[in-house]
């Protein structure tokens, strides 16, 4: 078997494809004329570019609103004084009452 046979076969297939394509090819005149017509037309404003930009902006706003962290009023953290129950609570000035009562009961009055 000729080692170049597959290459020849590939070449032949491509040549046949080229011949078939050339039979179907539009004329150069037709292509050039179509290009000239397109060149003379004012640039068409592509609608999809602004539409895509608007859609992107809207979706960005929606996503931002949905994901925005809710700012709630901060709850006051319970301080140590509040945790102490009222029954156990003593006034800071409570000690002032103690000596006064002791001195009256001992009768140290002149």
């Amino acid at each position: 078997m000729n080692p170049h046979e597959p290459d020849n076969h590939i070449q032949q297939l491509f040549s046949e494809q080229r011949a078939a394509d050339q039979r179907r090819a539009p004329s150069f005149q037709q292509t050039w004329q179509a290009a000239m017509t397109r060149a003379e037309k004012p640039a068409r404003l592509s609608w999809w570019l602004p539409a895509m930009a608007a859609a992107s902006a809207v979706s960005l706003v929606v996503v931002s609103v949905l994901l925005w962290p809710r700012t709630e009023k901060p709850q006051p953290t319970p301080s140590a004084t509040v945790v102490v129950s009222l029954g156990e609570w003593t006034s800071p000035t409570d000690f002032l009452l103690e000596p006064l009562t002791a001195s009256t009961s001992s009768g140290s009055q002149p």
Partner: protein, 188 residues
Amino acid sequence: MATNDNTTRAQLAELHPAGYGWALACCERDPAEAEDVLQTACLKVLQGRARYNGRSSFRTWWFAVIRLTAADERRRHWLRRLKLTAFDALQSDTVHEEAFGDALDREQQQAAFANALATLPARQGEVLHLVFYQQLSIEAAAEVLGVSVGTARTHYTRGKQRLREWLQQAKVSHEPARTRQPHPAVVL
């Protein structure tokens, strides 16, 4: 200036059949898309967006313009392509069966060959097209594709190997049909 334009136009006219073939190869052999790509490439020349600077051969330059234009068009029509791909996927099984089945006449053989080319990676198909169809050297093909000569050579070798395998497979599946002897019971 006008002389230059006329010269360019004459060269483009001369290259038109080859350019159409290359546009077909860049557009998965879609004739309407290939024609559109050629028009857009001509439009680029008319508007001065594509200008030949003499650094390569005119053919190499023009083929590179067509390739880039086809790539732009592909990007622009990605949505349409997505729909078509879904449709093609439904039909692909049938096409492959035809490819290795009864491809007896030239037209069917050509269709089978086009299908086999379509199954190759794009770069491999492009290099093979430029070398076998357009008769370019691998160096010129590399220039058209904007890749190194080594890369082009690798794509060429791998692509050719896969085509050889396809040919072998197609031959094997055709041979029994061609050389099939009539059944003795039928002869008698």
